[in-house]
Each structure stands twice: as C-alpha cells, then as structure tokens.
Symmetry: C2
Subunit: 178 residues, 2 copies
C-alpha cells in the first residue's frame, strides 16, 4: 500500500522564538481523515569532539525536564545557516575549542511522530582551545570523560539525552582502540 498523508487544511496555532506549532487535517492513503499536530524547529547540530581520547560533554539545566542533563555540545541552526559552519560555531561557543578534523555522522530526527527537528551529527578531532562564550541566559559546564565512562553513563541512565546516545553509536568506528 502507498504511504502518504495529504494535507487538507493547515493552521498555525503558535509562533514562537524556538518553535512554531501547526495543526493540520490530513487524508491518509487508506481513506481515513485525521488531525496532525506538528512542532516545527529549525534543526541543529551535535558534536562528538575527541580530545586526547576523551569526549567533551556539557552539563546544563534543561528547563522542560526540570533537571541537569549531560549532553554532547549542540545547538540550533541560525536562519539559513550551513550545518558544517554551525557545528564549528557551537563547539567553540559551548566548550571553547576549535577542531582541525571534522567528519559527518549523518543526521537524526529526534521525534518524527510530532516534530520535524533534524539534528546533524559530527565527529571532531584535533582540538585547540580558543575561548568559551556561551549565551548569557545559559549556564554550561564542560567536562571530559573517557569513551568507556561515556558508555557506562549511557548504560547506567546518567546520560539519557537521545542525540548524545545516537552520536556515540554513529561515531563508533572513530572511537575504537585501533
């Protein structure tokens, strides 16, 4: 059977700084009509940066989940920004480091059932410290952990952030002991 959902009607119900939300009526290709609530997000970048065999992570309070989260450095794309450039910008803003070597790890959709957020994942190596300069409404602390420590934190539920876990899996060939 063909898989499509045709938009019958589309209405924005919220326009924000970070997200827009629309409510659409769709015709599913099996003939049923349904409602779809869609969160629109500009997308972003996530960087797995390796410094002397340690992975850089950032610790910050995440307001929606009311808790401190340990994550890879990441950030939103600015309007029309190239993801490769955004990855360099965000790594330096959040950790202070620039990197010589960059590899794409593809992209992920964080929650494709109701949100279009697409995150571009990168591996970065050959780090040089320049200067950390986070946004003024963010408090970010940067730490370094070994690859084994990161895997333990994922397995023990200390790291529960989906983009961080996805980047670890996609980067595994760059993280082996060879």
């Amino acid at each position: 059977m063909e898989f499509t959902e045709k938009t019958l009607k589309s209405e924005y119900v919220f326009n924000g700084k970070v997200i827009d939300v629309k409510r659409d009526e769709v015709l599913v290709s099996n003939g049923h009509q349904s409602l779809r609530e869609v969160v629109e997000h500009t997308g972003g970048v996530v960087i797995l940066a390796l410094k002397n065999d340690k992975i850089l992570v950032v610790k910050q309070f995440r307001y929606p989940i009311k808790s401190v989260s340990i994550e890879l450095p990441a950030g939103k794309l600015e309007k029309d920004e190239n993801p490769d450039y955004a990855a360099q910008r965000e790594l330096e803003e959040e950790t202070g480091y620039a990197a010589d070597e960059w590899k794409s790890l593809g992209f992920i959709y964080t929650s494709p059932g109701f949100c279009d957020e697409k995150l571009h994942l990168y591996f970065a190596n050959g780090l040089k410290y320049k200067n950390q300069h986070p946004d003024e409404d963010e408090i970010i602390e940067c730490y370094e952990y070994s690859i084994d420590e990161i895997y333990s934190m994922i397995d023990n539920g200390i790291i529960n952030d989906s983009k961080t876990i996805c980047a670890l899996l996609r980067a595994r060939k760059y993280l082996s002991d060879d």
Copy 2:
C-alpha cells in the same frame, strides 16, 4: 555554580490532542531572565523485539518530516498508563506479537531543550504471534532485519529515528553473539 531556572510566569499557548505548549518566563541562576517554550508530551514506549535473531521494525509515513520512516515499534502512553503495560500493548498493536521475556533499557529524553517527551525503552524476546491491530488512521508495515542489517541502515542513514538508534545502543549486550 548552581544550575536552576525558576519559573516566574507560565502560560499555556496551545492545548492539543498529542501535545500542549507553554511559554514560561524564567530566572536563570546567574541572574538573567529568559523565555522558555516547552512542548509537553505524555511520553511513550519503544520496543526492541528479537524474533529468531531478527529485529522487528515498522515502516510508516511520518507527516512532520514528510517521509517514510523505519523505526522500532513504539507508541504513546495513555493517561496514567504503566509503561511496562504500554510496551506490551504497543508491540502487539503494531506488530501482532506478544513476548515472554521483557527487560528495561532505561529511558531517553528525545529533545530536552524544548520538550519533556520521555521514552521508556524495552528489549523483548520469546515472541508469539497473536494479531496486529494498528490505529485506523495509521498505515504500518512490519519487517524483520538481522542485527547487522539494522546497524548498516543506521550507518547508511536509512534509519535516522533517534529512539531506534538509542535502543540499539542500550540493548547491545542482549544482541551480542555469545
């Protein structure tokens, strides 16, 4: 430095079927005030089910990303529903299978910067076919792939769904050749 953000004002800007959206004014613990847009979601379950060393996946059209997505079986929690029960319900609804053996793989937050969606991950084994019964506004096709095929699809960008990739990593000790 302490990591907190105190709510100064909170306002719902959208109440939907799947999500609610609020816009809050917060006081960051460094003294700055800021706005936070928060998508509230009831959360859900994701099941990595193994059938004769093959992993069950479902293929479906995802309206927000306007494309067909290959994902592990998953679904939303119903109001006050126990995640363990929801996992059994969703596996059977989407694939037709019931499982004898269940293991928790912890949980993930799909996008903690703007959304509270929490997904409980499970490993399921010992499958018996009962009866597939998806929602009538969903078209879902179920497939089986070897573990190596799933890893290839993740590496080649055929699978880009974050919950699916996270469950693979958390389940790796159950998927080894031992």
